[in-house]
């Protein structure tokens, strides 16, 4: 046995790896696949061991075991059951005390907060208006993002009004901001190819854009965050739209932190920082301390790109989100991105991820309401992100008032992610959130692209079928149509904020 437990820092393992000795043929595929040292081969004893304390539950070994000898089980709380503390609070105190550091976690919050999507039902047509069969009749999902004019002037049969720049999406689903650094080259390559094939856009995230990925010009949204990593003229020029990242749903109000060990030569080059130093994104943009300052950056970017590209502003959903979004709209943003509380992250302090922010459903409904009241909703576009898990979440988001959605976590799950929440360790066994070349090559861009295209195309089909059932032949007709939704198991206040009726009403 090559380990020794430290009793003082012991916390019970989260998982139990069960190996069926009758099935195991000692092929060591599991040993090769595990990047967390939870599985290893002991030559002296000719035995494969599992170290439960190191297992993260990613199921890579189980997936690769040719004889299905491995089962991963979630361990029950071994301590005396205490409903008011639960296992996580006990373990949380122990870890902080033992290691003297604040735990950093990744992906969206896993705590049992209410998911409002699951408390809304969608309407369908019966008798009084006919439903539509999308397999045989045209169904429009095309969406334009950007500032809209109040009215059109036509002169001599030609359009006289000058329109604002728009993004044209074949499907109202875009790939959310996930940067090179959080994800590796192969994954960004796959996401870029999928965006091109699907006629949608992917967001570079705040870590710059690798030179090789400039070829996706026409399908790129670039991000400008407080660290301004990799932001230079060519980066702005290659983009179809520029997104100013003010906040992120998983960590509202705090900055980013890519640890130095992940800053490889290639990432340093792309981010334009020295190799091996921490890539710190300050909590605020230090040139934005007010709405007026935000306007200044929006127009600086418009000036730098000669008013040819829409400017997105991404804000995390927080308590006064409606007033903030109204300010952002008035500051000149063409598109507002709302990032909900359950949005993912490559690394965030646990307490922030699990306690700060607002669910996207409530934020989206209240922002849409406020912008309508102020006569701004028709002028700008609204993108919902942070917790979109399936095609029906997309439908519900659009009915609550979004023009389009961003998907991040779903993108990763499509190419192998099992949500083990270890992105911050850089050891992703599925080769996604890692820069280790040995692990990164587990992602084949050809296969990953196909899976992303499949996912979004299937969601598009499901959306079309649902629209057809509702008797609607264009996604535009669903936008902000909250009568298409009914709530259940919700308080009156919750339904008031969501702006929907109770099921049965």
């Amino acid at each position: 046995m090559k380990w020794m437990k430290d009793v003082k820092t012991y916390t019970p393992p989260d998982f139990h790896v069960i190996r069926d000795p009758d099935r195991c043929i000692k092929c060591k595929a599991c040993v090769e696949q595990c990047s967390f040292d939870a599985t290893f081969y002991d030559e002296e004893e000719d035995k494969i061991w599992n170290w439960d304390a190191k297992c993260v539950g990613c199921n890579r070994c189980a997936a690769f075991c040719p004889t299905e000898a491995i089962t991963i089980e979630n361990r029950e709380n071994p301590y005396r059951i205490n409903e008011s503390w639960g296992k996580w609070n006990v373990v949380g105190v122990k870890k902080r005390a033992a290691f003297g550091g604040a735990p950093v976690v990744s992906m969206g919050s896993d705590k049992p907060y209410i998911v409002y999507w699951d408390h809304m039902l969608i309407n369908a047509s019966q008798v009084t208006n006919p439903s539509i069969d999308p397999l045989r009749e045209p169904m429009e999902l095309k969406t334009f993002l950007g500032k809209k004019v109040d009215y059109l002037e036509i002169e001599d049969g030609k359009l006289k009004t000058v329109l604002y720049p728009q993004l044209e999406l074949e499907i109202p689903i875009m790939f959310a901001a996930m940067s090179y650094g959080a994800l590796n080259y192969n994954v960004i390559e796959a996401i870029g190819r999928a965006a091109v094939e699907l006629g949608t856009y992917f967001n570079s995230g705040e870590g710059g854009l690798h030179k090789d990925h400039y070829k996706f010009e026409g399908n790129i949204i670039v991000q400008v965050a407080s660290g301004r990593f990799g932001v230079y003229k060519e980066y702005l020029d290659v983009a179809s739209a520029i997104e100013i990242k003010i906040g992120q749903g998983a960590k509202p109000g705090i900055g980013g932190h890519l640890p130095g060990e992940k800053v490889t030569a290639s990432i340093a080059q792309t981010r334009m920082i020295p190799k091996g130093t921490d890539a710190l994104s300050p909590a605020p943009h230090h040139d934005i301390y007010s709405i007026e300052d935000l306007r200044q950056l929006i127009y600086a970017l418009k000036e730098a790109t000669e008013y040819k590209k829409p400017i997105f502003v991404k804000i995390a959903c927080v308590h006064n989100i409606a007033a903030i979004a109204s300010g952002v709209a008035q500051a000149g943003a063409d598109v507002i991105v709302l990032d909900g509380f359950k949005g993912g992250t490559g690394a965030s302090p646990q307490v922030i991820r699990d306690n700060v922010g607002l669910p996207i459903e409530l934020a989206l409904a209240s922002v849409d309401d406020r912008l309508r009241q102020e006569g701004l909703r028709g002028k700008i576009s609204l993108v919902a992100s942070g917790g979109i898990r399936n095609s029906m979440d997309v439908i519900k988001a659009i009915a609550l008032g979004a023009d389009a959605v961003y998907i991040g976590t779903a993108t990763l799950i499509a190419i192998g992610c099992t949500m083990c929440q270890q992105c911050h360790t850089g050891k992703c066994a599925w080769g996604i959130a890692t820069q280790d070349p040995f692990l990164s090559k587990r992602q084949n861009p050809n296969i990953a692209t196909q899976r992303l295209v499949n996912l979004v195309n299937v969601w598009a089909l499901e959306i079309k079928e649902t629209l057809g059932a509702m008797g609607i032949n264009s996604i535009e007709s669903l936008k902000g149509n909250r009568l298409a939704l009914r709530g259940f198991d919700l308080s009156e206040k919750e339904m008031e904020i969501l702006g929907i009726l109770h099921a049965g009403e």
Partner: protein, 247 residues
């Protein structure tokens, strides 16, 4: 050479004219009557020379790559915001957030600068490294999050004014700040080290101060013989030990 009269022009109109003139192949532009117009030189990626008579507005030379901008009076906030290369010369004082996130090129300011100068200034290659020389004094949070480059603060003509503000070099994790006449250690963040510049550093200071003196007519020999201190980060990873992998 092309002269543009900016009086009564809105910033977008003025900048549009500037862009058009540069597109037509002009490589030197003099703009008269500038009064607070934003974004002059913003996003320009050609090695042109722009001379500004008057006080330009915020975000002068933001995102620029290559131009030389000379301001004959004071300038406002956000000068050289995220600039990649080129040169900005201010014959007066400058406002807050000078050179935010700049990663190449140089800025020379004859007078004082406001708060948060050179925040998150960074360098990523030996030959691409930003340089900022400030003739007068600076406000608080100078060099915050600084990740690379060279910042020289000369403190000329300061009378009783404080040379720097509080929180100098907070979160600094790269680059070097050189301050003439030393620095009040109580104003510095705990993440920085104060040392004596070595010969190589002094050579760097001399080159830049000489250029500064040539631009603004100061006596280089007199300035350079005074004591300089060097401020560098203690670590490339100032916050590395605050966190542990969770959950």
């Amino acid at each position: 050479m092309k002269r543009i009269d900016a009086s009564n022009l809105k910033y977008n109109v003025l900048n549009d004219i500037i862009r058009r003139v540069i597109e037509e192949g002009e490589n030197k532009i003099i703009i008269d009557g500038v009064c607070g117009q934003y974004y002059i030189g913003c996003g320009i990626a050609k090695p042109v020379e722009i001379v500004i008579n008057g006080v330009p507005g915020n975000d002068l030379g933001a995102f620029m790559e290559g131009p030389t901008i000379i301001v004959n009076e004071d300038a406002q906030d956000g000068i050289g915001n995220t600039m990649s290369s080129g040169e900005i010369i201010i014959h007066g004082n400058a406002g807050d957030v000078l050179g935010y996130s700049m990663r190449g090129g140089s800025i020379f300011v004859k007078g004082n600068v406001g708060y948060r100068a050179c925040i998150h200034m960074k360098a990523y290659k030996e030959d691409v490294s930003p340089t900022v020389v400030i003739g007068g004094c600076a406000g608080a949070f100078m060099g915050e999050y600084m990740a690379g480059g060279t910042l020289i603060l000369l403190g000329l003509n300061r009378d009783k004014k404080r040379l720097t503000g509080n929180y100098l070099g907070t979160g600094m994790h790269g680059g070097a700040i050189f301050v003439r006449h030393g620095v009040d250690e109580s104003l510095c963040s705990s993440e920085v080290l104060i040392s004596k510049p070595d010969d190589k550093d002094m050579q760097k200071i001399l080159t830049n101060v000489k250029k500064f003196c040539d631009l603004f007519g100061f006596d280089c020999d007199k300035i350079i013989k005074d004591e300089f201190v060097k401020i560098t980060p203690k670590s490339k990873r100032p916050y590395g030990n605050l966190y542990i992998p969770g959950p």
